[in-house]
Symmetry: C2
Subunit: 224 residues, 2 copies
């Protein structure tokens, strides 16, 4: 039965990770779900048998993507029901708190800090968001130029949008993707505010002490 496939926490995490439409490898999905590759393999074959995801072999990698928009739609529907009853999933995934705080999502910042950043951008009217769509405001452009030395022409890309809302897997809320999300993350690295964890394969992003302060000054919500 389909629903029981989605019901398992590990599988739900994988599906959520796939919700942005991109394909991910088996091991990436394992990492997202916080389980070992063996377990993930079992889950993935079940999801595939259930028609929820489709595999694509590429070299020694196996990429998985959601079968189609219908699947995504149903998953959204379920998430909607969950959200409105305040039945937001109690976190189960990876134990690693560092991963939950700040991590790389493709090439941009995710995790608590990523969500916090987008929240602040929105609250300060530096961006405007409608569902998945985000646009940079004039104030936002000034802000970026002043504090991060990012100019709009650095962000144009033939196929990729400047801003995009990306569903944050640990927070279940949006963080900022797109060329701007990537550029900001890159800038954080250049400014030595943060760096990807050294351990190979890790998605954790470690902020330096000063980096954390600077970040909080711009994007903090006063929580810490």
């Amino acid at each position: 039965m389909i629903a029981s496939l989605v019901g398992d926490p590990a599988r739900a995490n994988m599906l959520t990770a796939l919700m942005n439409g991109r394909a991910l490898t088996a091991s990436e999905l394992a990492q997202e779900a916080g389980i070992t590759p063996q377990t993930a393999s079992s889950h993935l074959s079940k999801l595939e048998a259930g028609g929820l995801i489709e595999p694509e072999k590429q070299g020694r990698h196996r990429y998985y993507r959601l079968t189609d928009d219908d699947v995504a739609g149903v998953l959204e529907g379920l998430a909607g029901l969950a959200a409105r009853t305040g039945h937001m999933r109690v976190r189960t995934g990876p134990k690693d708190p560092a991963l939950r705080r700040a991590r790389i999502c493709y090439d941009h910042l995710a995790g608590d800090l990523g969500v916090q950043m987008l929240d602040t951008l929105r609250a300060q009217n530096l961006v405007r968001q409608k569902k998945q769509e985000i646009e940079l405001t004039a104030e936002g452009e000034r802000f970026l130029a002043k504090h991060l030395q990012i100019s709009p022409d650095m962000l144009t890309h033939p196929r990729r949008p400047v801003c995009k809302a990306c569903l944050d897997w640990s927070e279940r809320r949006h963080h900022l993707a797109g060329t701007l999300g990537a550029a900001m993350m890159q800038r954080f690295a250049e400014l030595k505010w943060a760096a990807r964890d050294a351990t190979p394969g890790s998605r954790v992003v470690n902020f330096t002490r000063t980096g954390e302060k600077q970040f909080a000054a711009l994007f903090g919500d006063g929580r810490d």
Copy 2:
């Protein structure tokens, strides 16, 4: 998590039984799911906690209905996914084969024979169906008058439609409800073709030998 609530076979059966929009008592739902009242009680409280169903106390009964159309929509979506991947749930419910063959759904015929009947009505162009909506054709009216002595004016009712598609829980396909469905079932009883099982609370409908033949002559699909 919502999906896991729907994932359990017993709960899925209950929800399916509620899909027609009516409210059912806890024990009716237990029966639909083929489990004891104790177990059902546990399931129902979980579904309620998950916001999928809402209770309504009435005397010593407790009626449950789906919370709203959103819930029904998501359930339909899941069923849609299940259907298209040929992943139709393999029957789990009540073991009783008689219950699966013919039973009462409120006041009309359900089960294998009920589905078969609607199939034949449709195939013979006696009714036309669009999703949940069913309408009787002119040929259908003649057919009913001739073979079952049912006239259209017997079927008018201020609030209830003449025909309605009712999702068959065991077959997962539609059977005929509405005043016509009820009238036909009543006629079968009057003609002594079939009768509700004597055991109290049972929904099984037993066809007599001759009744089965007559029924097959009108609505049989040649399977048996």
